[in-house]
Symmetry: C2
Subunit: 573 residues, 2 copies
């Protein structure tokens, strides 16, 4: 019989890394079975409640409060653990005090490292705008990782950046590569001639990783945040980033990637791109490309395609356009459950699979009717972006903290209606140091249930700190089917789950299409004339054999609606 205890520390702000480490430290204490340490937001509380870690007594908590919960073998163990809390909380930054002196404010930091042209901001959303503003006023460019920043704040920050000739990447900017260095989440890639601007974190990561895998390199990768291309923000960062890449000597080809922009913003962005003098690959995921190419613009279908096009343009790889006919396997019964850390990867999965697994719901669906209203609860075929704003308040992004996903894998596996779980694992700097260490056991446990398949898309490079080969090996050993290219994963899921092609039951008669044709025309007389004319060797070199007849039709009852109704009644009776 286990014991659950909660402890509330009012106003004790902790950043999410600290919370994750605190949870780990508590779970390492003797007699502790499970622990939770969260800022007391509604989502976090409901997640605690779901694990049975929340007590009613912990009422009246505010989002600023730290809530610690333990499930212990005994009352004594629980008490002992909670008594250690003050010590654990003091032991910040990975368990030991940092030796070097650390500034407590941005102003001091800038004096200490005046060469720093970039400030990375990842404090909780409600504090983020204030910190970013301070950085801009100190004449620094900002990489704003924080999410849950108000739209009005974003607009103000970007206006200020424009005035001062600075760049604000974000808010909710997951990744960037500046001068060869990855900021936030980034894969380690060769330096090279391809520069990228993206409103999408994992999208940029997937493309840069693909470029590296095929021998290409990246000059810069600049993020904009997901709302930059809205009417309100007007593409401020995207336009500034694009102009930076145009001026950047190392950049020979530019890749522009985002969800569909507002029309006025697309127009401004494409105008600038079209006049920039460098080839540009445009990938507006979810928006139909207007053409294969327009002037110097080349439109890509998807992430993989964007990488291929860019590589072809710097002549590192050829653009391989081929027709293939893959065999179809017997489909797996059951639902797809996609549990994604990467928002753009989730988005691309929805776009690629939505036409096949119908309905396919998602919290990132562009079609409002396909919206998954409660991303905490799966429904039919669905794809959940676990990094969405609403799920990350007061907790770390799922690319760092896998707890939410591990628990969800367990839950989905327990649902007998689920046939396939689809996961992404994004490697690189900033991401979890060893995702396979946690995922592999969870995958093995889940696959203990018959009739379940787990597919993992791994985005990473051979230079990434996590050791790509070992990650793949351990995931495969656990029983997962692993793919390195997004489209490979989508193809596999489609082949496994999409309804078997049907070709029966539709009964029109093929013989009715055979020549020679005979037809009756009723209505516009010129259509009859055209039929007859086609049989005339004088006007037609084709001259197929046609027999046609025109009906001299007049509306029944002279077109009188009341009389027509009476006639219909007489006929049917």
């Amino acid at each position: 019989m286990s014991v659950v205890r909660n402890q509330l520390e009012p106003g004790a702000y902790c950043d999410s890394i600290i919370l994750m480490r605190l949870r780990g430290a508590l779970e390492d204490l003797p007699g502790i079975l499970e622990a939770g340490a969260v800022m007391a937001t509604e989502t976090n509380l409901s997640l605690l409640a779901e694990s049975g870690l929340l007590l009613e007594s912990a009422a009246d908590r505010r989002p600023d409060d730290l809530l610690v919960a333990v499930r212990a073998e005994s009352e004594a163990a629980a008490t002992a653990a909670l008594e250690k809390l003050p010590t654990l909380l003091r032991r910040r930054g990975g368990g030991e005090e940092s030796a070097e002196y650390r500034p407590k404010s941005l102003a001091v930091a800038v004096r200490q490292l005046p060469a720093a042209r970039w400030v990375l901001v990842s404090v909780p959303g409600r504090f983020a705008a204030r910190v970013a503003r301070e950085a801009l006023l100190l004449d620094r460019n900002v990489f704003l990782y924080s999410d849950n920043v108000e739209l009005t704040e974003e607009v103000e920050l970007k206006r200020l950046a424009e005035e001062r000739g600075l760049l604000v990447m974000g808010p909710d900017c997951g990744t960037a590569i500046v001068g060869g260095v990855g900021l936030g989440f980034a894969n380690r890639v060769r330096r090279g001639a391809i520069g990228l601007v993206g409103a999408s974190g994992t999208g940029l990561q997937a493309i840069t990783a693909a470029i590296h895998a095929q021998g290409g390199g990246v000059s810069q990768a600049l993020g904009t945040g997901g709302r930059d291309l809205s009417v309100e923000v007007g593409g401020s960062t995207a336009l500034a980033a694009l102009s930076l890449l145009v001026a950047d000597e190392q950049t020979e080809v530019i890749v522009l990637i985002s969800k569909p922009p507002a029309p006025s913003v697309a127009s401004a962005l494409l105008s600038m791109a079209r006049g920039c003098g460098k080839p540009v690959v445009v990938c507006f995921l979810g928006s139909p490309p207007p053409a294969l190419e327009i002037d110097n613009l080349n439109f890509a279908h998807n992430l993989q395609d964007a990488a291929q096009l860019a590589l072809a343009m710097v002549e590192v790889a050829t653009y391989d356009f081929h027709f293939h006919k893959a065999p179809l396997g017997e489909p797996l019964p059951g639902f797809l459950r996609g549990l994604f850390a990467g928002g753009t990867l989730a988005q691309e999965a929805v776009l690629s699979l939505g036409d096949w697994l119908s309905p396919l719901r998602s919290n990132v669906a562009l079609d409002p009717s396909m919206r998954l209203e409660e991303p905490e609860n799966s429904q039919g075929h669905c794809i959940v972006d676990l990094g969405a704003d609403e799920l990350t308040v007061g907790r770390l992004h799922p690319m760092i903290d896998q707890e939410l996903r591990l628990r969800r894998i367990e839950r989905e596996a327990a649902d007998p209606q689920v046939g396939l779980i689809l996961l992404d694992v994004v490697l690189g700097d900033g991401a979890h140091a060893d995702p396979a260490a946690q995922l592999a056991p969870a995958i093995t446990a889940a696959l203990a249930r018959d009739g379940l398949e787990i597919v993992v898309l791994v985005v990473g490079t051979d230079e990434d700190p996590q050791d790509l080969a070992s990650q793949v090996e351990r995931l495969e050993a656990a029983g997962a089917t692993v793919f390195r290219r997004p489209s490979g994963a989508w193809d596999h899921v489609r082949a496994r789950l999409a309804a078997l092609p049907s070709n029966g039951g539709v009964g029109a008669r093929p013989a009715d299409l055979a020549a020679p044709l005979a037809a009756i025309n009723i209505g516009v007389e010129s259509f009859y004339d055209s039929l007859v004319a086609q049989d005339d060797p004088m006007t037609s070199t084709q001259s197929p054999k046609v027999t046609a007849l025109h009906v001299e039709w007049r509306p029944p009852a002279g077109g009188d609606a009341r009389m027509m109704a009476i006639l219909d009644k007489l006929r049917s009776s």
Copy 2:
């Protein structure tokens, strides 16, 4: 001083061809300056009013009534013309009584030509379902050209067709090629190995014409009508048509074209296509292709691309993927006014130009915010489908009757804000016998105004009855710039009207991207760790030079919102 006279013939139903001919016959009478002959629908009355041909006295008219209007040089000429009306109305079918015996009902027609497996129905919308039902009950397939048919009627008709193993193409089906014979509007094309199914009339015409132009041929082209892929209709015709093409021995490659289908319908259609054993080119205009190819499915960007893909697959032409950089000209000031007869051509123009001419309004815009609410009145950049249901009640399609468009060209040319008028001319059986004869003078007259350009897209083949070469020659002689491929026309319009690329005014500093990088981190500490790790030759073969500093940040005022507000106030004062 001219005289206007109206005459109402209550309940005198006339089909639209008769009306068009009646108008022509009246205008040929001595002393008649202008004439109108319309079924008295609201749209038609307002068009008459616009030309100053409607008198107040013609009140109380119903849509079933025939309204004849003349503007004459004198009272006597007007009276004389209207007195001829009964004679003119009797002279049906092109001015002389047909010599052959013509059945007055479908049942008689079927007895007379029992070999006819197809019935072409183009009676006015409110009668159309009744005629189509009769044809199905007589065990005949239906080509249903009529528009303004109720959705519930369409569903009923298609259910009946399914039960009886028949095909209903339409309602609002503009074109088909069955057994080598064009039904409705159709270009004359070589017979060949490419079979098409399309929810789009001019889309099918543009693709079949392009296939023919490049040496390919068409086995069958089956229309479905624009609503077939809605949830309500469920793709009934498209599925049946697809299964016909699968069974059709002459068809080696299938092209499937439509506007974006409902997700459940797309799923059914693509499932069938994927299992059909033949290569299929899919072109869902306005919907992002999920990939370049999925199994045997190949996704096209646009009409031209669909034709190219199909041709490549039957090895008639190579699929040419190339990068080009076209020079940019000085843009023309002024608005685009697209006046289209072809709905799908209008749609593709919107999709191709919408990102560049912003806002671009249209009565066929997929984006509700870009909807042109009153297609009778232009607004900014806009594209009008003059063949849309709401504009064709009681009058012929603009591919046959050009009156509406001729008048509109005159009006747009008179607007000094208009810089470019874009027109389509669709040739082939069923279409106007000589569109250039009317359009060329209208174009010459419009171009009398300085600063106006007129671009014409001509869709047709060298086999079409109108003589393609002569059409193009006369349109060009009138001063129009003529294109034969849709994308050629869109490219030209884009180059002429899209805002000049701007590249100034965005002020972020290129030097800030240069290596070595120095950065300050504030928030998630692991991002700092990642920065430092990238500078470590032990963990990174890239090892760029990075200098980084982490700020030991705590929320101001312990995160207390009220205190933070006070601090902000103090600071700003």
